[in-house]
């Protein structure tokens, strides 16, 4: 049989193939030749054949039949064979093949070979692909070589040890004694690999870390040693062997900095020992080339992670700021990533670079834009919110689609937290809905609706703007959904032209119905959107005066709609017109202020006071069958006085076996994402107290503004103010709005307010706006209490507060006696 062709020949030949098929043919031919050659156990050319096989493997062709041949090559005495054999082992074998274990013995022998290059091959192979079994077997050999004086082998042994530790962490202890003298070496290769080994050990085991930090042990202290080596590197003159663009061995410098980071983390002593050298590196390193910046980058990471003094931290942030201005994209990218990590801890320092960061929003690189966006959101605060929002809205306009959803959500969050005024907030939301309407997340719609209901005085303005927005274009589903809902709720404000904030537009009822109907008909509307529109039309039947017949007609048409959801709604609304017309006004009346839903979670409900919704029109008279009985017991236990009746917070009224029950469910289920919405209940009994809600007037009467407000409670940084309003329809009712604020530096979470009044009074507690009081008085929780005082007695109240603060649960009781006379007389 002729000698198999040489490797280079084969490569040349294959490259002449013009098509994939031609190449495949050549390869198959050669493979066959190689296979038969293997079968013949030809020692001479095995090496050549395996080399060819490796080439074919790289082209993507199967080469597993060569695995055993690699082992034979490794076992051979010839260096050439071993070299190719080990390469083949690293390319073709891995720990998932059983064959690989056969290598172990060969490697063991080669680790003790007389030629260092053979030993090197063995160490390299073991260090790259050694399995846990192999590592276990050979760890002893590696440890031996770690102590040799041959630096060529020592450095390889060190990295081999790193691999062993990664595969079999329990063996770490074994290498500890050998590390004693590693750093005393002059050879940079050994130094570098030793630092890597030490880093690996410290990262994996806190015990090791403690060990290396300790002062009084036989190891001379690690940190000073590292500092010394680093200092030498920086101060020493030009060394051609290790120089990279004027910097001496940057690889080693960076690794030392990284190890220092691990040693200094959460450890004051170590951190102090390295402050000087870090400052030195930070100030003396050349920044004109990438190398210098790589070192500076690592230095900054280290400074930020250890317990460094504030001057050093400021230096670090300034370096990052300089990076941001650098022309090199890589450097800007790296700067943004680091700033993102540090923005939580060193917020003020990062703020200084805000304008540069905002500029990065306009960069062309996608990764840079994303980081700039995340960083911008982290930097928004009460002071800069207007300016930042402007930039971010502009960004939303022009950014790639993959960002729009995140950006929109981020804007909503930031706007919610820092909105300087309600009008600004609504405007911002409108802007987002119109620019990125289709990218807004589904759960944003209910949140927005809840927000809008909260800003009572802006209803007219809001509905007007929303109307104008969808007039031109109703393709963006979230926008249309919010708009339909608002028009349904506040349509009467729209047609009556009551807007204060801007020029009111002239809209007739028919025009409004026109737009809602076109939404219903349009092909672009999703099923959900249609549901919104239909319900809105229905609600308008109580708010509009002249077009009720038109509404009836529309609703009856959809009674035979193909869409099951629409059909069901239409049929039930029809029934409402025909059979239950007397209930229609009550059912469709204006929604009360909704309970706040957490904006991050997917339609999660914040349970406060055991309620899930606000049912203002609670019909159950106080003494009978209280649903939140546990609530009452709570306070009873607490108060233990016989002349005080427990408070009755409003109870969930989901499933009621009353007339038109299914209608209730339907009407309440506006948001198909499942977040709860108030369910206005039909009136059966009519206790005087609750009649207030029946009319379509807004909840709070603005008359009786003359009652002074009081501070009911002020302790431990928690302040609760009461403001009063009297109902002009019922003089026995006082409406108290409580505002809870927090002047400490940490938020108070899970805040629950409970109140109890003397027997002669009746109390109704509505849902609070949220359960978190942000720190530094930056926000408040509001909650409404209605008090019925038919006997006009002096108002007294006991309140109980529970919340979480600084990680512990707090609880307090107090009595409020300082009610102004105008609030109850």
């Amino acid at each position: 049989m002729p000698a198999p062709i040489r490797l280079r020949e084969l490569i040349r030949t294959i490259r002449t193939a013009r098509t994939q098929a031609e190449e495949r043919e050549m390869i198959q031919k050669e493979c066959a030749a190689i296979r038969s050659s293997f079968r013949e156990e030809d020692n001479t050319y095995r090496c050549r054949n395996v080399a060819k096989l490796l080439y074919m493997h790289m082209l993507g062709y199967p080469a597993h039949f060569g695995q055993l041949e690699c082992l034979k090559l490794i076992a051979s005495q010839k260096f050439t064979d071993k070299r190719i054999g080990y390469l083949g082992a690293m390319l073709l074998l891995d720990e998932r093949q059983d064959v690989h274990l056969l290598m172990t013995n060969c490697i063991k022998n080669d680790l003790n070979h007389s030629t260092q290059y053979v030993q090197g091959l063995a160490l390299c192979t073991l260090g790259c692909m050694g399995s846990s079994e192999m590592c276990r077997d050979l760890a002893g050999e590696v440890e031996k070589l770690l102590k040799t004086s041959n630096s060529y082998l020592r450095k390889k042994a060190a990295l081999c040890a790193v691999h062993v530790i990664r595969k079999v962490p329990e063996l770490m202890e074994m290498f500890l004694p050998a590390t004693k003298n590693l750093l005393n070496e002059k050879n940079h290769g050994v130094l570098h690999t030793s630092v890597v080994l030490l880093t690996e050990m410290c990262e994996r085991s806190p015990d090791m870390l403690a060990h290396f930090r300790k002062v009084n042990n036989s190891f001379s202290q690690l940190v000073p040693q590292l500092v010394r080596i680093l200092k030498n590197l920086i101060m020493s003159g030009y060394s051609p062997e290790h120089d990279v663009s004027g910097i001496s061995d940057p690889f080693l410098q960076v690794r030392i900095l990284r190890l220092l980071r691990i040693l200094g983390r959460n450890d004051d002593d170590s951190s102090e020992a390295m402050n000087d050298i870090l400052a030195q590196v930070a100030t003396n390193t050349e920044t004109s080339k990438n190398v210098g910046n790589a070192i500076l980058y690592e230095t900054v990471l280290t400074i930020m992670d250890i317990k460094s003094e504030s001057g050093l931290r400021v230096l670090a942030i300034n370096i990052l700021g300089r990076f941001l201005l650098n022309n090199d994209k890589n450097i800007r990218y790296v700067a943004l990533t680091s700033l993102l990590k540090t923005v939580q801890t060193d917020h003020n320092a990062v703020q200084r670079h805000r304008s540069t960061i905002v500029d990065c929003l306009k960069d062309l690189d996608v990764s840079i834009k994303r980081r700039a966006m995340e960083l911008s959101f982290a930097l928004v605060n009460g002071n800069n919110v207007r300016g930042m929002m402007k930039e971010l809205l502009y960004f939303l306009d022009s950014c790639e689609p993959e960002f729009k959803a995140d950006c929109a959500s981020g804007i909503f969050l930031a706007a919610e937290k820092y909105a300087p005024s309600k009008r600004w907030h609504i405007d911002t939301i409108m802007r987002v809905l119109t620019t990125a309407g289709s990218y807004v997340r589904d759960d944003a719609v209910p949140n927005l609706i809840q927000l809008i209901t909260n800003s009572v005085e802006m209803h007219a303005y809001t509905v007007q703007r929303l109307y104008k927005a969808i007039l031109g274009d109703y393709s963006q589903q979230p926008l249309v959904q919010v708009a339909s809902w608002c028009i349904g709720e506040y349509g009467d404000l729209l047609v009556s032209g009551q807007c204060e904030e801007e020029e009111p537009i002239q809209v007739t009822e028919d025009e409004v119905l026109d737009i809602l109907e076109s939404i219903l008909i349009s092909n672009m509307s999703a099923s959900v959107t249609r549901g919104y529109a239909l319900t809105a039309i229905m609600k308008l039947s109580t708010r509009f005066t002249c077009t009720v017949n038109r509404i009836k007609k529309v609703v009856s048409i959809y009674g035979s709609s193909i869409d099951v959801e629409l059909q069901q709604r239409a049929v039930e609304y029809n029934a409402l017109f025909k059979k239950y017309d007397h209930m229609r006004p009550a059912l469709l009346e204006r929604m009360p202020v909704m309970e706040k839903v957490t904006t991050n979670g997917p339609a999660e409900i914040v349970q406060t006071n055991g309620e899930t919704e606000t049912a203002v029109l609670e019909t159950k008279p106080p003494p009978s069958g209280l649903q939140p009985a546990n609530q009452a017991n709570d306070l009873l236990d607490l108060l233990g006085e016989s002349d005080i009746t427990p408070v009755i917070p409003t109870a969930p009224t989901n499933k009621r076996a009353s007339v038109g029950g299914e209608l209730l469910d339907l009407l309440g289920d506006l948001n198909l994402t499942g977040s709860p919405v108030s369910v206005p209940a039909p009136q059966i009994a009519q206790p005087p107290f609750l009649l207030d809600g029946l009319t379509t007037q807004p909840l709070f009467n603005d008359i009786a503004a003359g009652i002074p407000s009081i501070t009911a409670y002020n302790k431990n940084g928690l302040k609760i103010d009461f403001t009063f309003e009297r109902s002009n329809t019922n003089p026995s009712v006082t409406v108290i709005t409580i505002q809870a604020s927090n002047s400490t530096e940490l938020d108070m979470t899970d805040f629950v307010f409970q109140a109890a009044v003397p027997k002669t009074f009746q109390l109704q507690l509505l849902s609070p706006s949220s359960s978190v009081i942000p720190a530094f008085n930056s926000g408040t929780i509001t909650q409404v209490i209605k008090v019925l005082n038919p006997q006009k007695q002096q108002l007294r109240m006991r309140i109980k507060l529970t919340y979480n603060h600084k990680g512990s649960a707090m609880q307090d009781l107090a009595e409020v006696n300082n009610f102004p006379p105008q609030s109850w007389q």
Binding site: A3, R6, L7, I11, R12, R15, T44, Y45, C47, R48, A51, L54, M58, L59, G60, K78, F79, T80, R83, I84, L87, D94, E95, R96, T115, G120, C124, G127, C128, M129, Y152, K156, L159, C160, H163, R166, H188, G189, H192, T193, V196, E241, H242, P250, F251, L252, V254, N290, N293, A294, Y297, E298, N330, I331, R332, Y333, V334, L364, D365, S367
Partner: protein, 153 residues
């Protein structure tokens, strides 16, 4: 470093070094994916790409792309230096290295890489030392060849 890939502008693989264990199929899939991602990046973007839980650091030298996948805590800028150092080593060994050198002498490219990096970590920071080790090993090879009077592959 988790793995290193070298590929041409047409997407042909010239070298692959894996420092983690993965099934062959998986490797092929990853290579395809990464080659696509990097070849589609424009000139004016940064050299870093977030990919799964790793960072891809890549640089183009003439007609070859050098790509390293590093972990989250690794220094990207330094990785660029690592890539550059490897290219310098190749250059020193081959003398004005070009893509053809790496195609026809791929096994040597691997040997050089193995003298520079073991188990995903740099082992030698001196150019001189690394290249000398290769050259000495080569000498060993030829010596054996000479004595055995057998053709080199």
């Amino acid at each position: 470093i988790h793995f290193i890939l070298l590929f041409s502008r047409q997407g042909k693989l010239r070298l692959q070094k894996w420092y983690t264990t993965l099934p062959d199929k998986e490797k092929k899939k990853i290579i395809r994916e990464i080659v696509q991602i990097i070849l589609s990046r424009s000139q004016r973007t940064s050299s870093f790409v977030d990919w799964k839980d790793l960072k891809l650091v890549y640089k183009r030298y003439a007609s070859l792309y050098f790509c390293c996948a590093v972990e989250d805590q690794d220094n990207e800028l330094l990785t660029l230096e690592v890539v550059h150092r490897y290219v310098e080593l190749l250059d020193r060994y081959f003398g004005n290295v070009c893509e053809l050198d790496i195609i026809f002498n791929f096994e040597k490219a691997y040997f050089i890489l193995d003298e520079f990096i073991i188990g995903g970590e740099v082992q030698e920071t001196s150019k001189k030392t690394a290249v000398k080790a290769i050259e000495d090993s080569d000498m060993l090879q030829e010596t054996v060849e000479e004595y055995m009077n057998k053709p080199a592959f």
